[in-house]
Symmetry: D2
Subunit: 431 residues, 4 copies
């Protein structure tokens, strides 16, 4: 029997709080889960700094990756009768689902921004590079690693396969909404996935939804909308991320300016230099980052040290609503005032903006094209979701942006009471 | 207003997946949560290596500590009318609940065993030592830190206060059973806490349970029993712990034998020397341990390196049932065989035994006295629980022990096929 | 101690699957629950014919009434510090909550339409008439029954009290959405009530919501929207209601035309005559109606008999989308065709239309004024919800109507295969 | 295609709050659900009078029957590869599961006791008699109705088939424990059914459980134990049942003594005469019974009238612990005292005893033989559950009996205050 058809002698199950059980029967999947690259995902939190706002959100990407795999597995059970759907194709979907987040590093968002990296790039490198994962995929067939990479990369020719992992109603989103709701404990994020799975229909190059399931999909879109604004873009989480980014900026700056670190930042060197090899990337997991933050808290540089202490002890920045476009003048005045009182505004006066497009219809040619969700009408025609749903229409294509200004209120309060600058800073911030 | 009576201008709430919300109104509690010592608990997993068996079990002791606080807060709402129960006493209960696990280090069980430490000792040191926590407690009153330490230490004179945190049906157990069930996703661990809280009655020196609540308590005891055997003593979790302990043993051994570590094990030195200062202890959080394991995976010493790779990649030991008392001869033979084939049995042939006493009536003078659960009968008499409940009686005072033998099956399989030793080892292990 | 302040010696609790426990401490509430008029609500289903679509929906109005009471009880705990809020006012809220649905009869919707009754009218009559409920309320104070009636009637002067029971975010709606979701098993209907209760603030004449709770309220509005279209207006439920109405119509028609019933319809006489006394109304509970349907299934009149058999055996009408305004001609043709083949269209060709306004801002003077939901902004101003929420705005004030045509497909299929009418009917219905 | 292999063109699903969805694909099953005999189960409550204690327990046997069917359907999915397991056998299991409770009447327990009926008898009669159900089963094959009856009757030759529906861990029990827990809202009744289904293994003549699933089964047995004592045998429920039985006794007595009923008890005549035809039985559903109780509340006979008022208004008897075996003398004295003061002890002084055997090993020849649960050990041997589980052992074969004495406390309180008998009755009852 070829490797791709090998089945475990007994099905293995993982107890999963969200999907009850994750079932594994394919030897390939079992072997992939056992690779060091996949096990590394246990050391990367799914929601970055969110655990500092919602203490339950301590779950890892390992958790989520198994969940996405399980959802795809269930979808495929429903598609079993699709013609021309062979076992390798099935396995391709499962592997892509399992591995789609493999390239995520710790606190991806901040790291990607500061060091100009792209986790999708690293996912590809892990799938195609000199890794245990690649070795296992190769055993399926010579071009299997490339196929898996293509699916994750959305360039695979069978767009139906791609859409299971990457579309506006894919296994990825369906897992993380439910999982993140479960671990944070919020009451959003629930929708009737079992029903959605049952009304999914494979069409030529996409998965469509039987019209009778429209309300379940509406509910899913609303969950997504609520999770974004209630959890993912929570201002306290963003405060922690602001600090994290500033730590990385400062460390890089110090390195570039030949600062003598008490502990040589070995793991970070290639990041500072802008030439990150796969192996460097893999070694920089979350515990390593936190280890450095502990060490840097004792560094002589007061900015680096202060920011690391803040992060470790959750001593975060405060924030106010602040639109830098409309409030340019206040911004400039604050910048000068901070400088005058010796609080470096580069690190301590930060605007952060978040925005989301909870659902979008197709606008070809736009920056980030999003395939719309199509409903399959009783007459077999397809209709785009927002045409039928007022609720979805109301949030379609509307980018909502939220600006906040972050700053260390404790520093400002610690200024002498007779300081003119203190008075003026307070006046601008809190009036 | 004195500090102990200070209330936050607006109640703060933490979203908690187990208790829905954790409510904080006292300034003291709020300040304690903000200390570095308490925030450190975010970097210590509640269930040690259990996440390698149940992937959901990635929650921290921070999580659990808030939960215990919340349960005690709810119990106290019911006790409000108890005479002589002043606000300082109330605060004492809440602080002790919040801080009771403060001294836990990473993977406590293994660290305590290998380095002969006691986390309760460190809890006391944090409460009474030169810490932020102590500073805050002192603001309540001069003897408040000592009182908090006494409650956690079970030596406080008012045994009723002690019993809220440490008894066979205390807030600690009620939180962890539910929380660990929630995060692992197992279906055990549920019981009707709301009912138990309502039938709790403060008596002179203990909390008793109205007889009408007996079945809810039975259900709780059974949850406890199931969680122990299904989750806490899961053999795969113990396999990871065996490896972890052996890593620590090996590192200590190497240090004592003047091995030259590529990375100087700064954080571990005082542990190796057996003289752990509070500050050393606090710095050794879980990310730091995992950082070292990553570094040690590259050490020259092949045992240390192998064990660290195993732990990081979840490449665990296999196990079989094995009772060392009854199977001494096999054990000795295996020991020799392992030696003969070059697998050091000190590190690679490990018996681990777990045992639990899910409920016990009072046996004064015994090693670890456990106060029994008393039911308050309609005639106002007290009856010990196991006298009334067949189910509880069936598991009372019965220590159940489970022995397993752990070993690296991959090493044995890798022995040459014509090796006599290999054949014999297999024969002993799998017949 | 006056009756209104009397407390039970021990708090009573009802186990409730939705709110966990319903707590009763006031003697008045306990006594009201024990009245025959309140116990009667056990014999009236909360969702009428919905159990024929969602088999779980067999819960009664008794169930729901306790739930509304419990929610108001919890809201009042948060309002305890409101000045001028005395115990009688508190009790008034609780009684109105408990009793607000007292006048509901079996299958209210159909009975009200066919016999031109109004359940609110009967609620008033029970509260103010010669009933056990009235006797108990009188013991509180002479004008207490009238006050309770006024609150339920929305004419009570303190509009804040009214708004707890009747507004767009009242205890009634919050209970039924959750309860109906629980019993039907649908995944809609969940929202974070605990949070909503915590952000409710009593203002002069209304309850407003702190702006920070906007998303929880959005979620509630969406639940409402989904429950209406997925559960309350389900076309199968409406099919059963169509049959039910037609049974009542037929029985009334027969009575008016001096048909000789095998069983004299004693319980229905006053309904047929249009002069329903309170006592008649109370006696006509759901089991009585079902008893008559069983008996009428054996009546000689074939229409009455057929409809009763259909209802009892859930042999319902089929339906298609059909807009009588746009399809007047088809409608007329069908009407004739039905007549021609001997299927009385008065009973067997029924258009049913449902429409809902899930949320509406205030339009004074309109038929059914709805008070809008106001958010309390950080600057203490009030803002109407749909101004701040795109999602709510998208469904505000938009009446959505759904028309269906119901008919007995089995009758049509049973027509001779060579019948021209059959062919034409099928053509109109299914093309 | 033969009828037994006919599949619906599209799978039908019922939304079920316990199992999420109930799936129907077989035409036979769909047709059976549509029969009047099966639809009648909507008019029989699953838990009789329990809704008077737990207001959520208003669910019907229709509900439960679908659930049992669904569980068997899921079990069979796992057994698909069993040799010699053809489609008719599969259908047999499903039909027996669906129909096993078909013969239940309203408040079965009381009716069976008072009128000496047996619901299993009527189930057989419905399956084999002149019914719609029989007609459908006949279309499968001539002997199919008999086979279905045999399975339900436990006399079918393939004991494996029987054991799915009737054993100590069958689909029936697994459904009702979960369902009754869900609707009452109690926290007992939960166990990991998904795991139990996965460790079930079909053996020659029984279903056995893989030893690794022992704890899940323990948990199930404990659920059963808790549900019995917390819900099924709740003394308040039994109080309602005592009244119900006494109503039936009284009505029968009056009939036998030629009492002139204001309303002729047509539906009850054959019950009074002890010759209940199938058609009489089927017509006596719960609404009919409640209709009669309403009518009888107005009867002249004061005992019948009083008891019916009590039942309708939930004006139940009070109770105390009372062991008639040990307290014979008190009993006799009470009996006389009741007579003396004019409260007929036949109807108003009732001892009710409940007892349960939550799990039993096999004791051949005993009255009600129960097949034990067998665990399949790794060495392929079978072990009886209670040999391996202390917890199960503790409750095995131990019949626990609970005696209560029921009486109308209001009647006794209404006796003149100077009545010697009143004083003495109170003394006996409450000392």
């Amino acid at each position: 029997m070829s490797y791709k058809d090998e089945q475990l002698s007994e099905e293995k199950v993982f107890k999963d709080p969200v999907h009850r059980y994750v079932h594994v029967k394919d030897q390939v999947i079992w072997d992939l889960i056992g690779t060091p690259e996949f096990q590394r995902l246990r050391r990367v939190k799914q929601l970055g700094t969110t655990y500092l706002t919602f203490h339950g959100a301590e779950h890892s990407r390992f958790n989520h990756s198994l969940g996405v795999y399980e959802i795809v597995r269930r979808i495929l059970l429903n598609f079993e009768n699709r013609p021309n759907w062979n076992n390798e194709e099935r396995l391709l979907c499962l592997c892509a689902a399992l591995l789609h987040d493999l390239g995520h590093g710790p606190f991806s968002h901040s790291f990607e921004k500061v060091f100009k990296l792209d986790h999708e790039d690293f996912t590809r490198k892990i799938v195609l590079g000199d890794t245990h994962v690649k070795q296992i995929l190769l055993k399926v067939s010579d071009d299997f690693p490339q196929k898996v990479a293509d699916v994750i990369n959305k360039t695979y020719e069978d767009k139906l396969v791609v859409s299971l992992i990457s579309s506006q109603i894919d296994a990825d989103r369906m897992d993380y909404l439910q999982r993140d709701a479960y671990f944070t404990g919020v009451s959003y994020g629930h929708f009737d996935m079992e029903r959605i799975l049952r009304v999914m229909r494979p069409m030529e190059d996409q998965v469509v939804i039987k019209a009778s399931g429209m309300h379940a999909v509406e509910d899913y879109i609303m969950s997504r909308y609520q999770m974004y604004w209630q959890v993912y873009f929570h201002p306290v989480t963003r405060s922690a991320e602001v600090i994290l980014s500033k730590i990385l900026h400062r460390a890089k700056y110090l390195y570039e300016n030949n600062y003598e670190f008490a502990l040589k930042p070995t793991h970070f060197l290639s990041f500072f230099k802008g030439d990150v090899k796969l192996d460097d990337y893999i070694r920089l997991d979350e515990p390593v980052v936190l280890y450095y933050f502990q060490m840097w808290a004792d560094e002589e540089d007061s900015i680096l040290s202060d920011l690391c202490v803040r992060f470790s002890n959750r001593h975060l920045f405060k924030y106010i609503e602040f639109n830098p476009n409309l409030q340019m003048q206040e911004w400039m005045e604050l910048y000068s005032l901070f400088k005058d009182v010796g609080i470096d505004p580069e690190y301590y006066l930060v605007v952060d903006s978040s925005s989301d497009l909870p659902y979008d219809f197709y606008r070809p040619g736009e920056e980030e094209e999003r395939l719309p969700i199509h409903l399959l009408m009783p007459n077999q025609e397809l209709q785009e979701l927002s045409r039928l749903s007022d609720v979805v229409e109301s949030i379609s294509g509307k980018k909502r942006t939220d600006h906040k200004l972050y700053f260390p209120q404790d520093f400002i309060e610690a200024l002498p009471d007779d300081s003119k600058e203190k008075a003026r800073i307070f006046e601008i911030l809190f009036n």
